[in-house]
């Protein structure tokens, strides 16, 4: 669907060049919700914007639906852009147009006849649940409602790709969830490929199928969300994920059980059908105390995290930990390690 081949984007600066995107090669499959995460300034927006050529790659090729798009200009570029929607952190609605006129704009741009435009705008208003706001100006809408208008505008010409640049970053958690649900719904209903920039790992966990992690203009890790989140390979990815989870135990607890005895277990919901902990206790003469636990849903798959202390002879404890490791996604040893 979307294929980046050795994409680099640099911006001229006073002293040399700024390499915002550095030799990125990445494939995004049709119908995916693809997350793009990384620290601020990592080059996420710049990479995303090469898809609709708001940013022109300095080198490399972008293929969309099998067609190389780098060289598109003028009328052909405008035609191409009509199939690619984009929504922004700050919505970017025209303040002097009503909701209806904002959504109608891309239809006019595509020369859709006036009679059909009204019908299409009504459909879109229904899709995003804003039928009763059609004659309001954006200033009268809440953030979530503004983003809904943005989504309707982006999809007006039946886009098959939707680019989201921090689309929920200006919204409160509740509104974020409702917008993410809408996006997921759109993805399922119309098979639209969605690419989501976010700095919130929770957004990725909630709706993304695959994810790429960017750092200093490069993609440092990518893959299925469940794999990247539960078994991050790259140090930077680990930090990104762990920073969003807070497993700091009180120091007196760590002192009481011993730092080295405390382990963090990450397991898939399906692992939970086996009595892993109780097996570990029975066959290894150890005691296990549970210190902390929670269940996350990554793309609707339950993923548990359990922090326990394994008490016993060193050999027994090691055996027990090895057993647990063999039965779960990941085990990290030592409270200071997580």
């Amino acid at each position: 669907m979307i294929q980046f081949e050795n994409i680099s984007v640099s911006f001229p600066q006073k002293n040399g060049e700024l390499h915002a995107v550095n030799n990125v090669t990445l494939h995004i499959g049709k119908g995916q919700i693809y997350g793009l995460v990384g620290a601020s300034g990592a080059g996420k927006s710049t990479l995303l914007r090469t898809i609709n050529l708001l940013e022109q790659p300095t080198s490399g090729k972008v293929f969309v639906n099998g067609e190389m798009i780098n060289h598109l200009r003028g009328e052909r570029l405008r035609r191409y852009r009509q199939n690619i929607g984009i929504i922004f952190q700050h919505f970017n609605l025209a303040a002097n147009k009503t909701v209806r006129k904002n959504i109608e704009f891309p239809l006019s741009a595509a020369n859709v006849p006036k009679g059909q435009r009204k019908k299409r705008v009504d459909e879109l208003l229904d899709l995003v649940g804003l039928r009763d706001k059609s004659e309001e100006y954006p200033a009268k809408l809440s953030g979530g409602q503004k983003q809904r208008v943005g989504i309707a505008r982006a999809l007006a010409n039946n886009a098959n790709i939707l680019l989201c640049d921090e689309a929920t970053s200006a919204l409160d958690p509740e509104t974020t969830t409702s917008i993410l649900k809408l996006l997921e719904n759109i993805n399922q209903k119309y098979g639209i490929t969605i690419i989501m920039i976010t700095h919130e790992i929770d957004v990725v966990k909630m709706i993304c199928h695959e994810v790429a992690v960017m750092k200093d203009g490069s993609v440092v890790e990518h893959g299925k969300v469940i794999d990247v989140i539960s078994k991050p390979q790259n140090e930077f990815t680990k930090k990104l994920i762990y920073n969003s989870e807070n497993y700091e135990l009180p120091s007196d607890i760590i002192a009481r059980f011993g730092e080295k005895s405390i382990i963090k277990i990450t397991y898939l919901g399906s692992d939970a059908s086996e009595p892993i902990l109780s097996n570990a206790i029975k066959s290894n003469h150890v005691d296990i105390s549970i210190l902390h636990g929670k269940i996350d849903y990554i793309n609707h798959i339950p993923v548990g995290t359990l922090i326990v202390s394994v008490q016993g002879e060193q050999r027994d404890a090691e055996n027990a930990i090895d057993y647990i490791r063999s039965k779960t996604l990941r085990v990290e040893v030592g409270a200071n390690e997580f």
Binding site: R78, Y80, R81, I84, P106, A109
Partner: protein, 220 residues
């Protein structure tokens, strides 16, 4: 002294009105177009052209930095060529218009530059033609700034037109200078000043009202 104050005032008012109205219309039209050109040639989303924007920017600045009274004199040959005379309200309209065009060009350029770039970018990402973005997004989004610019230009024009007395330009300002200042008719001068203040105040109030009505940003 033998002249009818009412008649003189009426004539002067009419002259001011004519001078200001004529040069205002020209400045909104041509100044607005030049302001738009200055803006679109500095913006990647439209027709970025560094040479054009630099050169026309310098020309506008030169016109803006020449004091009006000197421009009046400098432009005399051109004025004569265009309207056939160097004196009177008709003659004053030429330098007045030139000044006002340069003035409004800068004000409208600033109004365009204030439009949120993200909104224009969103329109561009929809696949809209730049001309359509200009008419359908840029102009409506800039309209409060454009209206405020018109208000300021009108008020400045009234001020400049009052200087027109030096070439026998006529108008309220001229009346104040000729009878009030040069012939020590303080009453007439004060009357003219009061009229000018009232006119300027009314224009400001009107302009602010229209701008407020046009502003959808604050939900007005």
């Amino acid at each position: 002294m033998n002249f009818n104050l009412q008649d003189a005032l009426a004539t002067a008012l009419l002259e001011t009105l004519q001078m200001v109205a004529y040069s205002l219309i020209m400045s909104i039209l041509f100044g607005g177009i030049i302001g738009l050109l200055l803006y679109v040639t500095t913006t990647k989303l439209f027709y970025k052209n560094a040479v054009f924007s630099e050169v026309s920017g310098i020309i506008v600045n030169i016109l803006r930095s020449i004091p009006f009274i000197i421009l009046l004199v400098l432009l005399m040959p051109i004025t004569k060529a265009i309207v056939g005379t160097n004196i009177g309200p008709k003659a004053v309209v030429v330098p007045l218009t030139v000044t006002a065009i340069a003035f409004y060009a800068r004000l409208s350029q600033a109004a365009f530059a204030e439009v949120d770039n993200g909104v224009l970018e969103a329109a561009s990402a929809c696949g809209a033609h730049p001309i359509m973005i200009i008419f359908s997004i840029l102009l409506p989004e800039a309209r409060v700034g454009l209206i405020n610019g018109i208000t300021v230009t009108t008020i400045s024009l009234i001020g400049y037109s009052a200087m027109a007395g030096t070439v026998g330009g006529g108008g309220i300002g001229d009346l104040a200078v000729r009878y009030g200042y040069q012939q020590y008719e303080t009453k007439i001068m004060l009357l003219c000043v009061v009229i000018l203040v009232v006119i300027v105040q009314s224009i400001q109030l009107c302009g602010d009202y229209i701008a407020r009505k046009a502003n959808k940003r604050s939900g007005g």
